[in-house]
């Protein structure tokens, strides 16, 4: 391991690091928005829309991001829809992440116990009131572990962007390896870079998960 090599590569890595952070952030926020909308549509069983949403969620969850990206990046231009690699990456990530998030939130809503729902009904609540005061607050708390897992998963999935030449972390490392044949150093830096991003996020989310759970259920 040559430390000069590592030192010299730092500025280039910093750029990839920044791009990975940005793409992850946009992807995560977009996925949460799509996921919340999709899970609400499914919860209220809005006709037609809810069937379409179910199909989307199953397609998004059961196909790999890589083929989703290839489709967006290589196949869409053939039917006249050309997007930059970055846009493809974000659209693909949100398509995938939205499906995962929707599944997570729906799981949370379904996890609210039958007895809590009976109890709300026994107080004369309408379906809307039941959703607003009982199912959603508890359901979102219940879906926190899935949310955490999905956020970490989506950050790691940005590494797949390297295959469509988006210069994020993994792509940066591969470029450097291709140019200077220093795989040990650059791969080491790559792993450390992901650790720097993910360890604080994992710790933060685990803490948050406990807080939310305690706030909602007291255990």
């Amino acid at each position: 391991m040559n430390w000069t090599v590592i030192q010299q590569a730092l500025p280039v890595f910093a750029k990839g690091f920044e791009l990975t952070l940005w793409l992850s952030l946009i992807g995560i926020v977009g996925s949460i928005i799509v996921g919340v909308l999709a899970s609400l549509i499914q919860y209220f069983k809005i006709p037609v829309l809810s069937q379409i949403t179910t199909a989307y969620v199953e397609l998004g969850r059961n196909t790999p991001l890589l083929i989703q990206l290839f489709f967006l990046y290589y196949a869409f231009p053939v039917i006249g829809l050309k997007m930059s690699a970055e846009v493809c990456g974000i659209v693909g990530l949100i398509f995938l992440g939205g499906a995962y998030m929707a599944e997570g939130f729906t799981g949370g809503f379904n996890g609210v116990t039958e007895s809590q729902i009976s109890s709300g009904k026994a107080l004369g609540m309408t379906n809307m009131q039941l959703a607003r005061y009982v199912v959603f607050p508890q359901g979102f708390a219940l879906s926190m572990p899935a949310l955490t897992a999905n956020i970490i998963f989506l950050i790691k999935e940005t590494s797949i962007f390297s295959v469509i030449a988006i210069p994020e972390l993994t792509n940066t490392a591969l470029d450097l390896i291709g140019m200077y044949y220093r795989s040990n150093e650059y791969l080491f830096m790559l792993v450390v870079a992901y650790a720097i991003i993910l360890i604080p996020i994992i710790l933060l989310l685990t803490w948050l998960e406990r807080r939310v759970r305690y706030g909602a259920f007291g255990d």
């Binding site: 109890s119 009904k121 026994a122 107080l123 609540m125 379906n127 909602a216």
Partner: protein, 246 residues
């Protein structure tokens, strides 16, 4: 002869092919305490849940103040404000404080003035000796305390009937008395009309004006409380009472 509040006529209920309630008939008068007794799985809780629209029924009818209930979700939602229910598992909303739990239905469902309800809630809490816990979360309370709050939460809607579904079954023995006293007090002082499902025979004997004895989803007896415990009509009820050994 006092006024009849609730009447059940030829009620049948099925889970798939399996009939859980057979031809249920009874009525409930204002101020009366009706106790549902019977072995586990006899359909007591199902019957009680049906009376609050939490279970649907295949045929038969339920009358409230002589008016036949149209069994659709809307009707039940409105009616539940007049028929309060307390469950075995308390089921306070864990994300809300004691006071928020109590205020939720009167303010959001019944659209009553929050300040008025709050005053009433404080009085009710004081009555069950929980006045110091208004700001507490359910997680900070013992089982007995949670159940007292759950009773107050149902009472805060000013219901005409209260349904109690094995409300002391998950409590530690030392908590049971306190909760039972609240229910007894509700009957004696407020003449609340109640239907109670319980396995506590001492409690049933003390409080029941009338006993419905169920087995396998059928009413085997509909007997005044005192008479049921002294001299039950059916052999099955006699065996049941002996087996309970209280």
């Amino acid at each position: 002869m006092s006024e009849e509040i609730l009447k059940v006529e030829n009620l049948n209920k099925y889970y798939g092919d399996w009939q859980v309630l057979h031809d249920i008939n009874f009525d409930l008068k204002k101020g009366e305490v009706l106790t549902l007794l019977g072995p586990s799985g006899s359909g007591k809780s199902t019957l009680l849940r049906t009376l609050n629209g939490l279970e649907d029924y295949k045929d038969g009818a339920i009358y409230f103040h002589g008016k036949k209930i149209d069994p659709n979700p809307k009707t039940w939602q409105a009616l539940r404000q007049k028929i309060g229910m307390v469950f075995q598992s308390y089921d306070l909303f864990p994300n809300l404080t004691v006071m928020e739990n109590i205020l939720l239905a009167p303010v959001k469902v019944q659209h009553r003035n929050e300040a008025d309800v709050k005053k009433e809630a404080q009085e009710l809490l004081a009555r069950v000796e929980m006045q110091d816990y208004a700001k507490a979360y359910p997680r900070e309370l013992s089982g007995g305390q949670k159940q007292r709050v759950a009773i107050v939460r149902a009472l805060a809607m000013n219901p005409e009937i209260m349904l109690f579904d094995e409300i002391t079954a998950s409590l530690d023995p030392e908590m049971v008395r306190g909760v039972q006293e609240i229910v007894e007090n509700l009957s004696q002082r407020d003449h609340m009309t109640m239907i109670i499902v319980t396995h506590q025979m001492n409690f049933a004997e003390k409080i029941a004006d009338q006993v419905l004895f169920l087995e396998n989803g059928k009413i085997l007896e509909n007997t005044p409380g005192k008479e049921f415990f002294e001299k039950p009509k059916t052999k099955r009820a006699q065996e049941f009472l002996e087996s309970m050994d209280f």
